[in-house]
């Protein structure tokens, strides 16, 4: 996330209003995963990234796209609808928002137990976060069924 003071004042005011309107979503059941060196890690991002032949995200989208482990970056695009975040960094290095290569680095070094076969991307740009409950819960089930111990949520 960015400091509000680093944003254009109109955008900062917009985010303040969004934060004020945000419902209270409390922490659910506290879970402690296995030691990191034994944990399989997946990434869930709101950067709107997907493979080129996936359907692009549309306004108010609540669905998600899949990125497989080892995805070819040449096959990846970003269809997030907002004009207000930097795309040049992502175009230069997708890991700056979707650090799949870095997870591979950590796995190769033995710092994490493994990298999930599947990673998930949503598009944010949704003022009612509770709207994601259905697809969010679905992704949670899929991650659990896939043996994932740790989900790293990476907002854009």
């Amino acid at each position: 996330m960015v400091r509000l003071s680093d944003l254009h004042p109109t955008e900062a005011e917009h985010l303040r209003a969004r934060a004020d309107a945000m419902p209270v979503l409390e922490c659910e059941r506290w879970l402690t995963p296995p030691p990191l060196t034994e944990s399989t890690v997946a990434i869930v991002s709101t950067c709107g990234m997907h493979r080129r032949d996936d359907p692009p995200f549309t306004p108010l989208a609540l669905d998600y796209r899949l990125l497989p482990r080892g995805v070819d970056w040449a096959d990846v695009v970003v269809s997030h609808i907002s004009a207000n975040f930097d795309r040049s960094g992502l175009a230069d290095d997708p890991n700056v928002a979707m650090p799949l290569d870095r997870l591979e680095d950590l796995a190769a070094a033995g710092e994490i137990g493994g990298v999930s076969q599947w990673h998930y991307t949503f598009m944010g740009a949704m003022p009612q976060p509770q709207s994601f409950e259905e697809t969010g819960t679905e992704v949670g089930r899929l991650l659990a069924d896939d043996g994932v111990d740790v989900a790293l949520l990476v907002p854009i």
């Binding site: 879970l31 040049s88 890991n95 003022p127």
Partner: protein, 237 residues
């Protein structure tokens, strides 16, 4: 929101791992977040203590001469500007082996078609009909107007970013400097502002038109008013 374990990172929007191309910096951010799995015992937000190095200069001047002395139509001027940028955009694509261009439905080599489509909309003010600039591209647009405008603009912006990423000299400009350049010094910016005016004028028959304006033009770059004008419930992140 009370996420179980959260790391606040002081980086620009679009760069949650901090620095593109810097694996060590990205790994440090990841390690800091994953370390909370072993330390946090209740809902916790920690601050990541390291600022990212400045993402390029805040004030930046493109070394290419984009002035075009002849054709003074908007289409002619935009096509000439795109032609001047093409060698460096091509070089960036060559170096990266990939491009993020093409969400409008245009093929990777159809930059001219995307530019011509935007210029056509700017010149005609027709925000309702998919622009016809080339038979192949026109039938390949992946969206309908006016939402297509958002992806046409993003595709051409990707091309402009590619055109400066591999130029010699200092590191590429940051997000704000890029926007200052595009909206202050390029025909592309002029085209987007003109389309923004058409979208503003179309509000009475197309309620979504002002919304599309905000999805094309970043805040702070549309005239002296807010670019984004949401509808109830809003769409913005």
């Amino acid at each position: 929101m009370q996420p179980p374990r959260a790391l606040f990172v002081p980086f620009p929007l679009g760069r949650p791992l901090g620095v593109p191309g810097d694996a060590e910096f990205q790994l440090d951010v990841l390690r800091a977040s994953l370390a909370m799995l072993a330390t946090a015992t209740e809902s916790t937000i920690e601050d990541y203590p390291i600022e990212a190095p400045e993402a390029g200069p805040e004030v930046w001047a493109c070394p290419l001469n984009l002035a075009v002395p002849t054709d003074d139509t908007l289409t002619g001027r935009l096509m000439a500007e795109v032609a001047r940028l093409r060698p460096w955009a091509t070089e960036t694509r060559r170096q990266r082996g990939r491009t993020t261009f093409g969400l409008s439905g245009a093929a990777a080599d159809q930059v001219d078609e995307v530019a011509a489509a935007l210029a056509l909309v700017a010149e005609t003010g027709d925000i309702d009909t998919n622009p016809v600039v080339d038979t192949a591209a026109a039938t390949g647009w992946a969206h309908d107007m006016p939402f297509l405008l958002r992806h046409l603009a993003d595709d051409l912006r990707s091309f402009y970013h590619e055109a400066i990423a591999s130029q010699p000299g200092e590191t590429p400009p940051n997000h704000d400097a890029l926007n200052e350049w595009i909206f202050g010094q390029t025909v592309f910016g002029e085209v987007l502002i003109t389309i923004g005016d058409h979208l503003t004028a179309a509000e009475s028959h197309s309620p979504f038109a002002p919304l599309i304006r905000g999805l094309m033009i970043p805040e702070g770059h549309y005239r002296d008013v807010a670019s984004f004008k949401g509808i109830a419930g809003g769409y913005e992140s």
